[in-house]
Every structure is written in structure tokens, then in C-alpha cells.
């Protein structure tokens, strides 16, 4: 995303805005889908995000990268939608406890070739997480952003990102432990035999 394109967008160049929309739509949609877990809501979030982006673009100074800025708007739009729908889920003290309760039966690393079934299980598990865990996993693990950029997007200290990501992953492992057979080859073989 070049500064030139941003400048053209800021000057109201329709062609540049179309390019921007085509370029950013997949990123925004995937982020929104990971947070909202719903195709229809994610599409609405994309629309709302671009409306906000275009409205605020003239004031965008490039202090942060455009992508970081758009991620920030996207996460805020998603959180607003969750709050409006009464679906916003905060971290409870019980969730904090999960931090120290990482299941000791681990899926094996070599089993990480992820099948569609396991992907769905992970998606479902992410969906059960508190929203701030969902967002940090979306940004750091699904979108692969550096901690520093996640901190910039979430406007929080780097240390907060690290600790929150730790807790979010632990919570996710806790959820996935309920479907251990999807990850544990021994359990899967046992289940196959029973079947």
C-alpha cells in the first residue's frame, strides 16, 4: 500500500479508493469473521469499516501504517457490533484461572497437519473465547502480526499483548482439550476402533 495511493484516496480519487477497497477487503473480512464468527456480520463489518476509513482518511497522517490503522478500525467496529448485539463477552475470573490449567495431554506437533474438521473445532473454540482473547489471537496468530503492531492496534502496552496472548492461547487449549481426539492420535485411533 503506497503512500501515493493513500494521498490519491485522500484527495477523493475514486479510482484510488476502489483500489484501496479491493486491496483491503480480504484482510478486513477475515479479521472481522474471526472476531464475529458470522459471515453476514463480517460483511457488515467490512462495509462499516470502509465507511469509517473513508470518513477519517483525510485526517490520516501516516503516524501508523495504513494497515495498522485499518486493523484498529476493524477491531473497534467488530467490538461495537458485539456490544450492540449484546454478545460482548469479557474475561471473567474463571477465564483467568485457565491460564494455569493448560491441559497436560498435548496434541502432538507432528499432528499439526490440520484437517478441515480440526480447523472447524479450532474456530468453534475461538468463538467461545472472551472477545479480547479472540481479538488478540486473531491479530497475532491468525493474521500473524508482530506483537508491537498488535499493541499499536489495541493501544495497549507491549507487555499487555504478551500476557494477553499467553492467556488467550491457554484458554483456547482448554477449550480444545474437550475435543482431544481431534488432536491426539492415540485417542483418535481408539475412537476409530470403537466406531
Amino acid at each position: 500500500m503506497t503512500n501515493e495511493l493513500v494521498k490519491r484516496c485522500q484527495s477523493g480519487d475514486s479510482a484510488a479508493i476502489e483500489t484501496l477497497v479491493h486491496h483491503l477487503t480480504p484482510t478486513i473480512y477475515k479479521t472481522a469473521f474471526s472476531i464475529l464468527c458470522n459471515e453476514h456480520d463480517a460483511s457488515d463489518a467490512v462495509q462499516e469499516t470502509f465507511i469509517k476509513v473513508l470518513k477519517a482518511l483525510p485526517k490520516f497522517r501516516g503516524d501508523a501504517s495504513l494497515t495498522t490503522w485499518v486493523y484498529r478500525i476493524t477491531t473497534n467496529v467488530c467490538l461495537d457490533m458485539l456490544r450492540a448485539a449484546g454478545r460482548y463477552k469479557t474475561v471473567s475470573p474463571d477465564d483467568e484461572e485457565v491460564f494455569l490449567q493448560i491441559p497436560d495431554t498435548a496434541p502432538l506437533p507432528e499432528e499439526a497437519a490440520v484437517s478441515g474438521e480440526r480447523k472447524k473445532a479450532v474456530r468453534d473454540a475461538i468463538n467461545t473465547l472472551p472477545d479480547e482473547y479472540k481479538i488478540i489471537i486473531t491479530l497475532c496468530d491468525l493474521e500473524g502480526l508482530p506483537y508491537g503492531e498488535a499493541a499499536e492496534i489495541l493501544r495497549c502496552p507491549l507487555g499487555t499483548v504478551k500476557s494477553r496472548l499467553n492467556r488467550a492461547r491457554a484458554a483456547l487449549l482448554k477449550q480444545l482439550s474437550k475435543k482431544r481426539e481431534l488432536f491426539d492420535p492415540e485417542q483418535r485411533q481408539r475412537k476409530d476402533k470403537e466406531a
Partner: protein
């Protein structure tokens, strides 16, 4: 390192972001703690899984759907490059000068905001006439003289230069476009300085033979009109040189003539000589100059036997502009940091900055007739 410390570093360790010393401590703990080994194996597997989660298909046509519902600008606003806007103004001023010099004899007034020496007139060595107020001028309407008295600019130091009547022959002579009778620009004439603006008119010709067709509005009145417009809520848009009456300077609209055109000096110009002429001939000259470009301006001046230089002066705005820019940048950073309640203030600053840009890129000219 104990298990709790290990867990607190697990994300960074898993992502390979720990420094080598800290990573070595973690590895030492893992070597002797089977529980944490399992935890780490689980975490590695999870993260690897998450990194391959590319299973979200983007709905087909989503971008197009988004674009269809976006409030895109219907048409890109195309502004003339600064240089084009300038030469259009040059042509306007040139046409005004030509009309003023070759068509009549009338009123002109030099307005000076500061005691800058960028303008000087040429005149012959005959004695200067006495100042005549705009109200006494047959070509100046009553309303104009009132406006002059109310002008907010009358406190500024004004340099007025008397022009001998011999230098401004009767209008009908020049209306014939007789080159032989074109006024010769005499040697340099050093003007007098007064603390209040005055209008100097030819003593006899203007009084006895007011130009019926060529109405010349004293510049002070024009300035008053433009200043009023600038100070009102509806800011006068920068004149873009197009023929749209809405784009015409406020003074041109105020002059009431359909064929009128004028370029008033913005208040920030240090010194400006402006002739405001309403004459159909001016339109023709203007159109011709505009069609042919900047070269035609020079040609027009050469044809009139006038040596000239054109200079811009926007330095008075530089400091203000930079101050506003710095403030806008600081506020923008705060807004990016989440302080959205500053948006209104930023908008005000941006608007002020934009106004300065508009005025600085609008024609800003000082004509020096040598």
C-alpha cells in the same frame, strides 16, 4: 525458573521472540519439567494450527458490494494547477491594466497594506494633482464612498501616488485604440506617503468627462466588499479563473455588471495595484489572453508599451500556516491514539489551514510597473 515463570514467557518462547539468555533459561526448565514439556508441546501444536487457519473464504463480489454502498465522491474535483490559476490571474490583471491604460481615464487607487516598495508608478515630471476623495469622483458611486469610510483597512499605512492628468488622457482618445495617442509611460515618479488612503484623480478630465460606459470602481470599495465577504460566515471561494459567476470574486459580483470582471487584491498582499473595470472590451481581452496562455500576457503588456514584473508575496502566511500544521499534526497523533474528542478542534484547524492554502494558491500578485 519455576513453572509459573515459564508459563508467563510461553507465548514469546513459542514465537521465538525471547532473547537467547532467556530462551536458554526456558529450555533448562523444560529439560527438567515433564509437565511443562507437555504444555509446550500443546502450545506448539496449537500455534502451528492457528498459523495454517486459512479457511475463511471471502464472499465473491464483496468488494463490489462494499463499493456500491460507499459514499464515493461522484466526480473528482479538479483544480487548476497553481501556475494555471496564476496565469489566469495575470491575464485578468493584464486585461484590467490594458483597459485602464488604453480605454480611459479615470480613477485608480493604490492600496498598500504595508510600506513595501514593490510598486512604483511612472509618471511625467508635471506637478501632481491634489487628492480627490472617492465621493468627489464622478465615477465612484455614493455607496462606494461610504464603504471606503467604513473600510477596516483604513488604519493601515497607505502609500498613495499622485498621477498627473497629463498621464491619463481622456477616455475617448484611447477608446479609438490609436497607438499614436497611447500614453507614454514617463520616467519614474516618486510618490508621496500618507497615513490614510486617498484617491487621486485627474483634475479636469475626470471631472468634466466622466466615462459613461467604463465604470471604474475605486479599489478601496472593492477591498471593503471583499473583506466583508471574507469576514462573513460564507467565505469567498478562491477565484479559479473560470467563467462561472459563482466563482467570480466578491467584488466583481458586488460591482453588478454582467460584463464586469475584476481581480481584487487579497488582504494579505503587501502592495497591489488594482484596476477594477467594467467594460465588455475587457472580457474580450481576458478571453484572448486566457486562450493563449501566459505568453499573451507578455504580448499584451508589450503592445501597451508597459514594462512590468510580477511577483508573489505569501510570506505573511508562512508562519501561521506552519503553526497550524504543527498543531494539526499533534492533534492528529492524539486522535490516532484514541482521543476522539479532539476531532472537532482538528477540523477547525484543518479548515483554517485549508483557507490559507486556498488564499495562498489563489492569485496573489504584486505588479511593479517600471
Amino acid at each position: 525458573m519455576n513453572c509459573k515463570e515459564f508459563i508467563s514467557l510461553q507465548a514469546e518462547y513459542t514465537d521465538g521472540l525471547l532473547d537467547s539468555a532467556r530462551a536458554e533459561e526456558v529450555r533448562a526448565h523444560l529439560a527438567k519439567c515433564p509437565a511443562c514439556q507437555k504444555r509446550q508441546a500443546a502450545m506448539d501444536s496449537l500455534v502451528q494450527t492457528l498459523h495454517t487457519m486459512d479457511d475463511i473464504p471471502v464472499p465473491a463480489g464483496l468488494s463490489e458490494k462494499v463499493l456500491a454502498n460507499l459514499p464515493l465522491p461522484e466526480k473528482k474535483v479538479v483544480r487548476f494547477p497553481r501556475i494555471l490559476r496564476l496565469w489566469q490571474t495575470y491575464s485578468a490583471v493584464a486585461a484590467c491594466l490594458l483597459v485602464a491604460v488604453t480605454l480611459y481615464a479615470g480613477t485608480f487607487e493604490q492600496y498598500t497594506k504595508t510600506n513595501n516598495e514593490s510598486v512604483s508608478y511612472s509618471a511625467d515630471t508635471s506637478p501632481a494633482p491634489s487628492p480627490v476623495s472617492p465621493a468627489e469622483s464622478p465615477s465612484a458611486p455614493e455607496k462606494t464612498s461610504d464603504e471606503i469610510k467604513q473600510s477596516p483597512l483604513t488604519n493601515t499605512k497607505t502609500k498613495t501616488i499622485p498621477v498627473p492628468s497629463a498621464a491619463v488622457p481622456p477616455a475617448d482618445v484611447y477608446r479609438n485604440e490609436d497607438t499614436a495617442s497611447t500614453p507614454q509611460i514617463p520616467p519614474s515618479y516618486e510618490g508621496m506617503v500618507s497615513e490614510t488612503p486617498s484617491t487621486f484623480l485627474p483634475q479636469t478630465e475626470a471631472a468634466e468627462k466622466p466615462p459613461a460606459d467604463n465604470t471604474i470602481i475605486p479599489f478601496s470599495a472593492a477591498m471593503t466588499a471583499e473583506n466583508s465577504a471574507l469576514q462573513s460566515d460564507d467565505a469567498v471561494p478562491a477565484y479559479d479563473g473560470q467563467d462561472n459567476p459563482e466563482n467570480a470574486p466578491a467584488v466583481a459580483r458586488a460591482s453588478g455588471g454582467s460584463a464586469a470582471f475584476a481581480r481584487t487584491a487579497p488582504v494579505y498582499v503587501r502592495e497591489t495595484l488594482t484596476f477594477i473595470v467594467t467594460d465588455p472590451a475587457a472580457e474580450a481581452i481576458f478571453a484572448s489572453v486566457r486562450a493563449e496562455g501566459p505568453a499573451a500576457v507578455e504580448a499584451a503588456f508589450s503592445a501597451a508599451g508597459i514594462e512590468y514584473t510580477v511577483q508573489q508575496d505569501t510570506e505573511d502566511f508562512t508562519e501561521t500556516y506552519h503553526t497550524l500544521t504543527e498543531e494539526a499534526t499533534a492533534l492528529s497523533a492524539q486522535i490516532d491514539a484514541g482521543e476522539t474528542d479532539l476531532s472537532d478542534r482538528l477540523s477547525e484547524i484543518e479548515a483554517a489551514r485549508q483557507r490559507i492554502i486556498e488564499k495562498c494558491t489563489a492569485p496573489v500578485l504584486c505588479l511593479s510597473i517600471l
